[in-house]
Symmetry: C2
Subunit: 245 residues, 2 copies
Amino acid sequence: MSSRDHSPARFPVAVDVVALTVRDDVLHVLLVTRLIEPFRGRLALPGGFVLPGEDLQEAAVRELAEETGVEKVSGHLEQLGSYGPGGRDPRGDVLAVAYLLLAPDFPVLSAGSDAEKAGWYPVSSILDDHGIRLAFDHEKILRDGLERARSKLEYSPLAAAFCGEEFTIAQLRAVYEAVWGLPLDARNFHRKATGTPGFLEETGKVTAGDTGRPAALYRLTAAARPEPGHPARAVLNPPLMRPVS
Amino acid sequence: MSSRDHSPARFPVAVDVVALTVRDDVLHVLLVTRLIEPFRGRLALPGGFVLPGEDLQEAAVRELAEETGVEKVSGHLEQLGSYGPGGRDPRGDVLAVAYLLLAPDFPVLSAGSDAEKAGWYPVSSILDDHGIRLAFDHEKILRDGLERARSKLEYSPLAAAFCGEEFTIAQLRAVYEAVWGLPLDARNFHRKATGTPGFLEETGKVTAGDTGRPAALYRLTAAARPEPGHPARAVLNPPLMRPVS
DNA sequence: TCCCTTTATTGTCAAGGTGACGATAAGTCG
DNA sequence: CGACTTATCGTCACCTTGACAATAAAGGGA
């Protein structure tokens, strides 16, 4: 820190959350419709200003709860990056700290306590050409979050963050296919997922009721489960690489 | 952003830079000695407060120049993460945005314009048990920066950011060994570095004067060179993994 | 000059991982 | 029961890696 600045400038600090989930085999992002200016009527990432005495991650969790009605979100939450403070809010300088949430599909309040409508939107409908334009610089933040998620799947057990506690290999593969936007060979994926030491363990249970042969249910190994405070361990070694094309 | 907050809280925003280099085959970090409270006399990462109208990365470059006397730093600069705002500065809430600089060895002013002494310190001397204690939460930031650098070497061409424009395979290998703290097999490394398409290209020149056989000089391919604004491309595919032990 | 030391570079080989894809297994549905 | 669907196991050629031998190209000293 500079020793010269007697009274440093102060900035409002906002947290914005890129919440991703896989719904019907399609990657979705959680967005709210803004009911006030600026960008009234536009879709935006959920978020809000950090309060005094609050930590960044606390603020992210609180804003997510306020705007989506979810008190206890399971899944994986990590910091994505910071943006600004200039050129991103017409009201003036605002520093934004973005967080990335990878979570199983959860219901959102159609009208949160902030009176903003929240809902899941397919990521492709936002990022495609001629997609819906987001407020602020949220499209860039979403792109950064998507790329972070894509690369993290390669070497970390984070794909399981999109699933519940127990899941089948096919469900896990559907996560990879939805996030990467690529088809994967079911047999090779099964070999890699079940063959990686310290990644998955069988629960002994199987699915029922669906069409086709029942699938075995797996859960993450204790070693692969994200610990509070610790980053997700690099369990997939060698990594599960994205196909080139 | 929350629609409810009419006058959001404002925080001072500091940028801190984890500047790493390889010097005499040892990883060093750039630190300054604080001459004022708090943490007077302690070593700290160079950094300072963001000024109004300034971007985060601009502030990082400016503070680095002010405290180390380097106007144009070559190498790779990327955002590392944000810390706080609570519990990291005894003067009160301060949000810190950390940046990571991977650079060739450059001289630092022994007394910068901020009158803080800057110098290179072996990373191990800071992070070892009984190492020198840094000011603020800078030890955690340094650890995060080190881990980021270590993992980035695996799949990106960023090791070359520690070298000059042209370098030998052995110099590049020395970077990996210094950052990872592990010995690598010179022959297998040579095969991987020269055999990866789109990574290195020969300059045709060779080193001279040293003991032993002269080494060929290489440079990064245009595709592997970091573009302004773009992240470092994932050129090493499959990656060059750290040995397990 | 010739040998020794040092560093760079090229090969070799076995083991393991991956992509492509055939073959079975175990359910549901008609 | 037979068709269909999904899950799981096997096979095989190819590629990459780790371990390590061998060769190349300098400088230094006897």
